[in-house]
Each structure stands twice: as C-alpha cells, then as structure tokens.
C-alpha cells in the first residue's frame, strides 16, 4: 500500500504539471506578460469576456481579474497591486487627488430586483426611497402581498450601492436586512426569498429574479443608453496618473476601449461608451 501511495503522489504531480503545460501555448512573437485587474463585482461578466477575447488573440498574455468590489479595486490600483482597477462608481475627489484617473468603459443600469413570484411589477423612485429608508415596510403598501419587505443591499465599499443610494437619495440611511459582498450574492439571495427586494447590476441579472420598472421604465440596454432608466452608473477603468501601464496592460486597455470591443460589451449586458 505504501508503494501505491508512493507511486500515486508523483503521478498526480506529473499530471498537474502536464495539464498546466498544455494550457500555456508558446507565444510566437506576440505580446507576453500579464495584465491584472481588480475591483467591481458588477463588471465581472464584461471584463471577463473582454479578458478572454484578449487572451485568445494574445495567447502569451495572462489575464487575471479579482472580484473584490469597487472600493477594493481602487485601493488595489493605488497600492500598485494590480494594473487596472475596476470601479462601478465615480472616483471621489480625494481619490483623484491621490493620483488616479478614470476612463469610462461602459454604462450599466442598476436593476431593482424582486423574486419572480412577487406580484409587484414596478415602483416609483419615491417609493423605492421610502422602502429603503424604512418608511414603507409592507409589500401591501405598494400593491403586493401582505408581507414584510426584506431589504437586501451591498457592503459599504460597493460601487453599485453608491450608485443606488446617491440616485435614490438614501446615502447612509438605508436600513438593510443583509449587506452582501457582491452583485451575484444579492441576486442569489433575492431569488430565494419571495419577500426580498434588492439592487444589482443589470448586466448580471439572471432569470432567477425579475427586474422592476422604475417610474414606468424597464431597465434595458436601450433605456440605459438614452437615459430614460434613471438608476444607472458608469463602469470605470481606474489607472494611476503619471505611471505608464506595462505593454500588455496598455494593449489591453486600448483594446477594450476600442470599437472592436463594443460588441462584446453589449453581449455581456452593458452599454458601451462608444
């Protein structure tokens, strides 16, 4: 039995090494190096698709994305832990003062989502504000079932939360039942609780929840683009001013802000800035 183990361990290691080797094809004179991005969880699908398209065309480049939240991404690029930071909220003045610059990649709507079984299909912006500040506490007050409204929101560093709270005028006074750390988490939680309401990046919304119309406007790419859907925010690329990006990072940056990337961004559910 010891012999079996002794043979098994190196076999596993060998398999691992080989499997790894098979994946990194030799770079034939193209770009090589790495691009690291860090930040907004709402931007996951968009940046993931863009990163994948980029590495398919440039197999020598390694692309990584760390989904840690807008606030964390800004900190990461400031501390030099990543090449490009991703934020789904505008930079604050003191962040810009520390030497950060923002480039708009796309626009994204923030959908107000409920469980598919919830009879409510739309709310006014005023109702949303009242719900989230605790003035309206029961679904029956807005045309739904007689059940207590369960408020789901994001953690304090979230760009989505920042966008939602600033547009609904509820900064610092939202009374959340749960504060979750990613857009996907909000979607998951709302999809499991018939009385929950939450907000999430439109690009990430799945069939497991339903997006409400706000002031009679349903969130779609078109309504975000022409501005009629009010709750929206930009997807930003954050870089350090005065420090040049590495060659692969700069190439990636140019690629995703070009027209060629617009289609991928649209497919991922956001509205390209171009």
């Amino acid at each position: 039995m010891k012999k079996l183990l002794a043979a098994a361990l190196p076999a596993i290691l060998a398999f691992a090494l080989l499997a790894g080797c098979m994946s990194t094809s030799p770079s034939d004179g193209g770009l090589s190096g790495s691009v690291s991005t860090d930040g907004s969880t709402s931007m996951e699908k968009v940046i993931g698709a863009l990163g994948e398209a980029f590495t398919t065309e440039n197999p020598g480049v390694k692309f990584t994305y760390n989904p840690t939240g807008s606030g964390s991404g800004i900190t990461a690029v400031l501390e030099g832990r990543c090449d490009i930071g991703l934020s789904s909220r505008g930079l604050k003045d003191d962040e810009k003062a520390q030497g950060l610059a923002e480039t708009v990649l796309a626009y994204d709507g923030i959908a107000v989502i409920v469980h598919p079984e919830n009879p409510v299909t739309g709310l006014t912006l005023e109702q949303i504000t009242k719900i989230y500040t605790g003035e309206i506490t029961n679904w029956s007050e807005v045309g739904g079932n007689d059940a207590e409204i369960v408020l789901i929101g994001r953690e304090a560093g979230s760009g989505t939360r920042d966008g939602f709270e600033s547009i609904t005028g509820t900064e610092d006074i939202c009374k959340y039942r749960q504060e979750l750390t990613s857009t996907g988490d909000v979607i998951t939680t709302v999809s499991q609780n018939p009385d929950a309401v939450g907000y999430a990046s439109l690009a990430s919304v799945k069939d497991s929840v339903r997006a409400l119309s706000v002031d009679d406007v349903l969130p779609t790419e078109d309504t975000v683009k022409d501005g009629s859907y009010k709750i929206q925010r930009p997807f930003l690329l954050v870089t350090k001013t005065g420090t040049a990006l590495s060659e692969p990072a700069q190439a990636f940056f140019d690629y995703i802000t070009s027209d060629a990337a617009a289609e991928i961004i649209a497919k991922a559910g956001a509205v390209s800035a171009n």
């Binding site: 900190t75 304090a156 610092d172 039942r177 749960q178 504060e179 979750l180 009385d195 929950a196």
Partner: protein
C-alpha cells in the same frame, strides 16, 4: 572496533544547531503572529479610544461620520458561541458516553468514523448546506421575513463543533480506570449510574477540555457563518441578521482603507485575545486532569 570519523563532531554540532532552530520555528511563528496583530491592531484602538471601541454600540465604518463601536459584534460572537455550546455539548456528551461505554465495537467503529468524517468536511460545505437548506427552513418554520440570522449561525456552529466534542470526550471517558467502574458496579450501582455518576466525573477535565475546544472552534469560524448569518452589525437577537468578530474582519477587509482598515485589525486583535484566554483555560483544565 569501529572508528568514528574525525569529521563527525563538527557536522554533529551543525546538525544539532539546525534541529534546534527547527524546533523553535513554532515559537517564532507564535511570536510573529502576536507581534503583527498587536502592531496592526493598537493604532486604531488608540485613535478611537478603548472604551468607545469595545463598548460603543454602533458600527458604521464607512458612513460620513464613522462610528467604530464593536459591542454588538463582540456580543454576537459571545451569544453565538454560547448557543452553539448549549446545543452541541449535550448531544456530543451523550453520544460520547454511549460510544465509549455502551456501544458494541462495530457500532462504535462506524459512528466514530462518521464523527471523523463530519470533522473533515470543509466549512464552506457546511455553509453551502446551511445557506440552501437551513436558512429557507428557518424562514418557513418561524415565519420570519429572512432566515439568515443568529439562529442559523448557532445551528451550523453546533453541528461543526459536534465531532471535536465527541472525539475528545470519548478519549477522556476511555481513560477512566476500569477499577473505578468495577468498584461502583460491585457496590450495587447499575451500569448507567456508574457511567454517569462515576466515569463522567472522573473524566471531568477531559470533557471540560472538549467543551473549551468547541468554544475555540465556534468563536473562530468564519466561512460557514458568513454564508448564513446576514452580515449586518446589529445587536444580537435570535432572528436578526448579525455580524460576528470573524465575519466583520472577513467581509470588510478587501475594500477597507485608512482608519476603517486599522479598526478591522483591532477587531482581529480582540478575537485573538479571546482565543488566547480560551486556550489558557484549556491548558489549565488539561493540567488539572493530568495531575490526578
């Protein structure tokens, strides 16, 4: 007669030195961890003030006027651990007595390996099952709007500490000298009376050590709790969404900066302090048991 090579002596000294260093790696690590936590955690406490930090009731780290009171978080950890102990210890204790004294060998083997398996399951798996089975169940059973609560965390923690309580208690009960039990039986006590009135008190320190071990584990659990407890820093109440010392650190760490980040290190320091106290208690109990 074998002649020892002359070059052996300095080589021996070097090797002895190497092993000496290796031996102290563990000590070095403990010192490293303690030093880092203290250095990282003290600044925020100094700035916020020890009393407002430990006893303030509002944690709002990113508000326009931030407030860093962690009393609700400390109390949540305390109540959560207490709840887990209240549920887990009786179940673990009675299971251990049965397995150690009464169960036939085959049953004991099967159940002991079951307990071993429970101990080995990663905490995220507990969190996953808790999130998808326990939380909706609490919501439906108790008619609360949202099942992610202190109760869910207590139940998950109780299940997680069960295997360690069982294992350590069994070891303690097994170690009770057979003479004690034989003497009790000879005096006319029934087997059950013997086990509970003689063996258990004899294994008292070992069982207490099991409880303290459980307390340590419950207090330090982060992942499973993060998935079922809701993560809002309320004062603890059974059906409220709550934040533990561990989840407070884990959930805000990645995006924090400045005073908020330092405050998180201070929370970790407080947690570390609690755990050290618990460990000291454990050692004391074990020494008492060994001294018998």
């Amino acid at each position: 007669m074998l002649k020892r090579a002359k070059t052996d002596k300095p080589a021996e000294a070097v090797i002895h030195g190497i092993f000496f260093l290796l031996g102290f790696v563990a000590v070095g690590c403990v010192l490293l961890i303690t030093v880092y936590l203290v250095i990282a955690g003290i600044p925020a406490i100094r700035e916020i003030g020890l009393i407002p930090f430990l006893f303030g009731t509002r944690w709002a780290s990113t508000a326009a006027e931030p407030s860093f009171g962690i009393l609700p978080i400390i109390l949540t950890s305390v109540y959560g651990t207490a709840g887990a102990i209240l549920l887990g210890v009786p179940v673990g204790f009675f299971t251990a007595v049965y397995l150690s004294k009464i169960a036939p060998a085959k049953v004991r083997a099967v159940l002991e390996s079951a307990a071993g398996l429970l101990a080995g399951i990663p905490s995220v798996v507990y969190g996953l099952v808790g999130m998808l089975v326990l939380v909706p169940a609490i919501r439906n059973l108790f008619h609360v709007p949202d099942g992610a609560s202190l109760l869910a965390a207590i139940l998950v923690l109780a299940v997680m500490i069960l295997p360690s309580i069982i294992k350590v208690s069994i070891t303690a009960l097994d170690a009770v000298p057979k003479e004690y039990e034989d003497a009790s039986l000879a005096l006319g006590a029934t087997p059950i009376e013997t086990y509970f009135r003689v063996s258990v008190p004899a294994a008292k320190s070992g069982i207490a050590a099991a409880v303290v071990l459980g307390v340590g584990r419950a207090m330090g659990e982060a992942m499973a709790v993060m998935m079922v407890a809701g993560n809002v820093a309320n004062m603890p109440s059974l059906f409220q969404s709550v934040r533990f010392l561990t989840t407070a650190v884990a959930s805000e760490m990645s995006y924090s900066s400045g005073l908020q980040r330092e405050a998180l290190f201070s929370i970790a320091l407080v947690l570390f302090f609690f755990i050290m106290m618990i460990n000291a208690g454990l050692n004391f109990l074990l020494k008492r048991g060994a001294g018998k």
